[in-house]
Subunit: 302 residues, 2 copies
Amino acid sequence: MHICMDWKSINFDWNRARAFLVTAEEGSLSAAARALGVAQPTLGRQVDAIEKELGIILFDRVGRNLVLTPTGLELLEHVRAMGEAANRVSLAAFGQSQSIEGTICITASDVHAAFLLPPILKNLRQQEPGIDIEIIATNTTSDLRRREADIAIRSFRPTQPDLIARKIKDVSARLYATPDYLQKIGNPTTPYGLKDADFIGFDHTDALINALNTLGLNLTQRNFPVLSENLLVQWEFVKQGIGIGIMQSDVGDHESVVRRVLPDLEPLTFPVWLVAHRELSTSRRMRMVFDLLAKELAKALA
Amino acid sequence: MHICMDWKSINFDWNRARAFLVTAEEGSLSAAARALGVAQPTLGRQVDAIEKELGIILFDRVGRNLVLTPTGLELLEHVRAMGEAANRVSLAAFGQSQSIEGTICITASDVHAAFLLPPILKNLRQQEPGIDIEIIATNTTSDLRRREADIAIRSFRPTQPDLIARKIKDVSARLYATPDYLQKIGNPTTPYGLKDADFIGFDHTDALINALNTLGLNLTQRNFPVLSENLLVQWEFVKQGIGIGIMQSDVGDHESVVRRVLPDLEPLTFPVWLVAHRELSTSRRMRMVFDLLAKELAKALA
DNA sequence: TCCAATCCATGCATATATGCATATCAAACC
DNA sequence: GGTTTGATATGCATATATGCATGGATTGGA
């Protein structure tokens, strides 16, 4: 090391840099303030302060919102790098933390969150009352590397090498509808009988259609007049006789108001993976929750 | 961008991270406080706070000083990355600044600082009173990329691609001593006559010896009983008759108490480069000083 | 063994930053 | 055109962080 290393170049207020980063990424002071959990005037003053401190203009105040100046854009690139490093700091710190107390954030599909997790969480809460649990129920995949969640329950194998993943098992999914609806479309017993049926779909992509057609059906977009990204909403539609929906077998078979469509049709199968960031695997709290989830999920899906 | 990007992982106090970084790099709270220009208790409390905030122990308080824990070492790596990014932020901000007011930090060898810069700085101060100048006179090369200085006067061509360099000219250096000393060693007129002379050296490396020997001398470490990294100190030794020293010709020839040793010996030559960080070239203040330095240096060295 | 130097911790007065409530403003909508 | 909505600024009371002075502890050396 130098006799006297020079730190004046990093001797600006780093929190103000963070304020700038989040404001630029979120697009407004208000949104950034919400995201960071601080008041909007605070963030506004921090951005003003860093502009003064560095002697540059980061945002043009145009109308009711801020737009980045070219200077701001230039700086944003470097501040982003700070943010990514800060993220790694946070990850490493969490991983090193040996305290069992604290929060764990779990993300799962809404179906898993609603039907699978409640009894498991009950166990966990009893066993470790010091651990708080936050559930993010979403069908969009959260980015574990940004630590949007600590543990994810996924239906695909993650590819990033810095994630650790454990396959719990394969689960099956089948088509369900109410007896009323099935009668309305003539109690079909062959795939051909479903050619004009209404299905509840997930989105406009053909992924589900293709999967079902490989099982012998012959569906098109026309068969999916009702869409929802929320699988619980889909399931309510099915239970109320709107149409045919797909659901995990163990959930569908336990729902008395519906029954299988084409009971002998081969089910769809998909895996259940438990995923966490590798850095976090050294955290005692993390391991505790991860291992308990793995054990209980395997039991629940048996 | 996600619907609601999650920033909680970077929502720790970044200034505390900086406090940890500098403390770890400097080795003590006191040194870090000096380096950052804050009080030592402030830094101590910031380090305490980040330990609490992240729930980890960064330093072991052993005796009167701090030593990194393995956890601290692990985190330091990531915090270093934050620091490097912060450094780039600072560089970019400076480069984008169009204000002519402010400070410019120039590093040069002590000889250049003492003999070359004074008249140039006088000009600069007259021409641009709003620009403050800080001179780092050292014979160790400052790291421009860390912004230990804004402009450097160097005697070698920098290799890093993110630096801009302009060669001013080649200058020559010769051997000087007092008439008294030369008489004492028998007024040598050939390289052989210097075989037992005392030279003032820079350090224990053979670089200078090798350079002189290529001119026909035949010196060894024995000829360098007096060493100083400070060339001005060397020069005082020479002027007081301690031995023979090397000095830029234009400085040595204007010093009346010394004269050339072996006047017909071919001089050593080395280039003078003006160097700055590429990011800074867009700064108005920077360009002003850089261009003036280039012009005046060329004139002064003519 | 004592002394001096150097470092970290603590108390307290002060400076700084934050949050809340509110004013102000611009754009979209009826 | 007025109204609503969602944004940025400002005033003020409060919370938080900082600096200074000081105490306590450890190391290295006379």
